[in-house]
């Protein structure tokens, strides 16, 4: 648990996902990361402006359709298309909001991009974040090709999958309280 302290900062590597298919996701990752760091480090911007800019970047990084289906798991087939679209919209806003808040906490940690593994239409990008107290935290970003873009499908920080983590929580909420309660929770959190 102690290493979770750095999670907010590690998510910075989240940005590696956006790249044009013609461009290698690994090499593009550094540019995207620098872009985020530049926003966070820009002293002329206040926090809400920074957060807004980062939220916009995150919004364009993630394969929301795929991630929303994944986190809903078995419940995806049990809800209507309209409910799914409602969930996707709210979840998208929620995740962008939560992770933009985390990015703001970036404090000069070093990020090393180590390697990538390419598959048919998808890739894993391996990176490590070196915290200010000398801990190396492994981060794996899973991206998939959608049209002419690479989009984030999941991120693993120290072996913990964001998608799997949300899936088990959401499964529990829907099973015990129902789908509407989940939507209400999303409303309250953004």
């Amino acid at each position: 648990m102690k290493k979770l302290a750095s999670i907010g900062l590690l998510i910075l590597v989240f940005c590696v996902g956006v790249s044009f298919a013609a461009e290698d996701p690994f090499s593009f990752a550094k540019k995207r990361t620098e872009e985020i760091i530049n926003i966070v480090s820009n002293r002329s911007l206040n926090e809400s402006v920074k957060r807004g800019k980062i939220e916009n970047i995150i919004d364009g990084l993630v394969d929301w359709d795929y991630v929303s289906k994944s986190v809903l798991g078995i419940h995806y087939r049990r809800i209507s298309k309209h409910d799914f679209e409602t969930f996707k919209k709210k979840f998208r806003g929620y995740i962008s909001y939560v992770y933009a808040k985390k990015f703001i906490k970036y404090n000069g940690e070093k990020i090393n991009f180590l390697k990538d593994e390419k598959f048919d239409g998808s890739a894993r990008i391996y990176a490590e974040v070196i915290t200010n107290d000398s801990k190396r935290i492994p981060v794996i970003t899973v991206v998939r090709q959608v049209g002419d873009k690479w989009l984030v499908a999941d991120i693993y920080i120290e072996g913990v999958s964001m998608v799997a983590n949300y899936r088990s929580q959401i499964n529990n909420v829907i099973t015990q309280k129902g789908f509407r309660a989940l939507l209400d929770m999303l409303d309250r959190r953004t």
């Binding site: 102690k2 492994p138 529990n172």
Partner: protein
Amino acid sequence: MRRLCVLLLVAFLFFGTIGAKYALADDKISVDNGTSKAANLSTTNETQNGINGMMEEFIVAQQDIPDPFEPVNRASFTFNDKLYYWVLRPAAKAYGYVIPEAIRKSLDNFMYNSLFPVRFINSILQGNFDKAGYEFVRFLVNVVTGLGGLADSAGECFGMDRNYSNEDFGQTLGYYGIGEVAYLYIPFYGPSTIRDVVGEVVDTFGNPAYYVMSLWTFFGYEAFYRFNKFSLDVDLYDEIKKESFDPYIAVRNYYINYRRELIRR
């Protein structure tokens, strides 16, 4: 006498672990059914993208968290939640206000460095002499150039990773194939498993402080070590709670999957 008591406790926990492992073997509890089914769903719908194979490979490792004591654990989680907001958080904030962060970090470095035998022995027990050597060098560098361990000069000056050789007996048991047996959420302590509780008790014997203090002083020392560390990131739990739909499950996932990752490394 006190050492005999600790030994008996270790034996009790160890044999309890073995017994519980067999008891659960035929009735493996999967609290995360949604995970595996979702993977299947993805496989049938979206095989064209080849991502599902690799997603499943990861996701399989995130399934099957044994939590047979969930009702008790949840009660314990609620207790610790109240303890956090009513006692620990205000106390840690006050402590952080009085004691500068630099001093708290130095104390943490010193106490962490003094636990070198635990990490060194467990690296050897796992047959990983590379990690054992790394830990040995890290310890020496911190003692010689880091004011006896008050500064983490191995990390700050020489870029030596603090996580690389951070081994304990719970990981050693995991390395030899012993599973978590059951997830535990312990009052005043937090997330653990039966395997990791056994590991914590065994690791006590590798802690030099155990041999130079009375048992109660040692418990106080350990409590202070954890409280001091907690004061360095006092809002972490609050953030996890605010960002979770079910904080109990979020903490359980983080803990179990993080420990599995440490063992895998």
